[in-house]
């Protein structure tokens, strides 16, 4: 029996076992997946929950429900991988052996990595929405917050779903307008990047949207600490930005066991070949989803496109053949822009986000890089698609490689 061990049953790990089980005969392959949580969370919902779009219970389902028959689900916290012995040890001492290992333990926000962030003001005036608990606390906070200086802040790139902080800002603007207190709220968007977004063309479009909403942009801000007494964030070059409510995206890091196992970079992401996800250090270890260091967005959509080719590549690889499918870094995301509208952007390793139309077979073309009501609905529909199609590894009619059909290259837009 050959043994495949998958670490983490989040978006990527769950899709991987759903797609691999039918491809690997049960008589030859044992597949095990390890997960610490009984609950699978719909993370994109964390963005919308603070504004009342979702109730907490809509964002959770049992992990086990999405693990297919014929795959062993082991509950536990991974403590260490010993790549030279091909074993994984869990915190309770359980030892698992593997022939092939797929790391899919994602990334989590780490407020403990910035001095002052997770101290007195944590969950009082300092909040985050990248975790279920954090998003719930912020939901409560926003219900009664009377207004003042709202600072939305990114600690350091990469963060998962890199547009989420901007979306949060747009949605906050629209939320306070609806509440009739927008004139009592000053919004500042603080980023370590030189502009509103990582890709220049969308940085321009999205920067214009900040202006139009009277939101101040503070670029090139590398945070050193949070000053709890003054209630201000302080940068290495000694700028201070005072806040009444700070919504920060803490440093995003891969799991600590990755570092302990000697498998990660400074942020505990696993260095892999960006086209095949094979570890650069070990020829029987892959890393998929947010856990890898590929220079693509850390997003469910990227994991999904990657999972269109990873399973077939894996099967070829274990048969000793070449991995013929090459991932191009394809990402697309719906961007909530507030007021019931949204945008859609589409890009990969090489191509800037495009304008034009996205040829979405189910609901018809969606406008790219332009605000529309249809795009907002697309985002809401995504929750259903996530639970019912994506996680179960079913076919979704979006090509994994980026196509230029219906799209206008950025320079002509």
């Amino acid at each position: 029996m050959r043994r495949l061990l998958v670490l983490g049953a989040g978006t990527a790990g769950t899709m991987a076992v759903n797609k691999l089980r039918p491809r690997l005969p049960e008589s030859e392959w044992d597949i095990t997946i390890v997960e610490q949580s009984d609950t699978h969370y719909y993370q994109p919902g964390y963005l919308l929950m603070p504004f009342g779009t979702y109730q907490p219970k809509q964002l959770v389902k049992p992990t086990a429900r999405f693990i297919p028959k014929g795959v062993n689900l082991v509950k536990g916290e991974i403590d260490v991988v010993k790549p030279d012995e091909n074993t994984v040890t869990l915190a309770d001492g359980t030892r698992l052996e593997y022939d092939y290992l797929v790391i899919a333990t994602g990334t989590t926000p780490r407020p403990d990595q910035t001095p002052g962030m997770a101290e007195e003001e944590w969950h009082r005036s300092v909040h985050e929405f990248y975790t279920y608990e954090g998003s719930k606390a912020l939901t409560e906070k926003l219900k009664t917050w009377p207004g003042g200086r709202l600072v939305v802040h990114i600690t350091e790139m990469p963060v998962k779903c890199p547009v989420a902080p901007l979306e949060f800002t747009f949605l906050a603007d629209s939320f306070f307008k609806k509440k009739g207190i927008r004139d009592k709220v000053e919004i500042t968007y603080v980023t370590p990047l030189p502009g509103a977004f990582t890709k220049p063309v969308s940085a321009k479009a999205l920067g214009g949207m900040l202006d139009a909403r009277s939101i101040t942009l503070e670029p090139d801000f590398m945070i050193e600490s949070v000053d709890n007494e003054k209630k201000a964030i302080v940068s290495y070059d000694e700028r201070e930005i005072p806040f009444d409510l700070l919504v920060t995206i803490p440093l995003n890091m891969g799991a600590d066991y990755v570092a302990k196992s000697g498998l990660g970079d400074e942020l505990n992401f696993v260095p892999v070949n960006k086209e095949t996800f094979l570890s650069k250090a070990h020829d029987n270890i892959f890393a998929v989803g947010d856990a890898s260091d590929i220079p693509a967005s850390k997003a469910g959509s990227v994991a999904h496109f990657a999972m269109d080719l990873f399973p077939d590549n894996f099967v070829r690889y274990v048969e000793g053949k070449e991995m013929t499918e090459k991932f191009d870094g394809h990402a697309n995301c719906f961007i909530e822009s507030g007021g019931g509208k949204g945008m859609l952007i589409d890009f990969n390793y090489e191509t800037e986000p495009l304008t034009g139309k996205f040829p979405f077979a189910v609901v018809g073309p969606m406008p790219l890089l332009k605000e529309s009501r249809l795009n907002h609905l697309g985002k809401l529909a995504f929750r259903w698609i996530y639970w019912n199609i994506l996680l179960r590894g079913r076919y979704l009619p979006i090509p994994s490689h980026m196509s230029m059909k219906g799209k206008v290259p950025a320079k002509d837009a």
Partner: protein, 104 residues
């Protein structure tokens, strides 16, 4: 790809002036690039530039502020003092390396 002339040599650069060919760089050129962006180089500056060069050779990527702190042992605060405002970008420029990515 643009070509520019520095110290009477032809140098390949990208649109923003970052060198694109690792081996076209030497310390004399680094000193010239530093002068262009107004950095006065001390031994401490040079030790950082040398770290970046070595690290790139090994990893194939330009070190970020965080990596220079973790692997190079120079606190981020000090990097900002030595190369004001945008240390990662300025160090990469002087070291003749591509702008660090990590920002997708």
């Amino acid at each position: 790809m643009p070509v520019t002339t520095l110290l009477d040599r032809e140098i390949h650069v990208d649109d923003e002036g970052f060198l694109t060919v690792y081996d076209e760089w030497d310390e004399a050129l680094g000193a010239e690039l530093a002068k262009q962006i107004g950095i006065e180089m001390t031994d401490e500056h040079w030790s950082l530039i040398r770290f970046l060069r070595e690290d790139f050779k090994e990893k194939g990527e330009t070190a970020t502020t965080r990596r220079v702190q973790a692997a190079g042992g120079v606190p981020a605060k000090r990097q900002f003092e030595l190369f004001p405002k945008k240390p990662a970008k300025k160090m990469a420029y002087i070291a003749g390396l591509p702008k660090p990515h990590g920002c997708v």
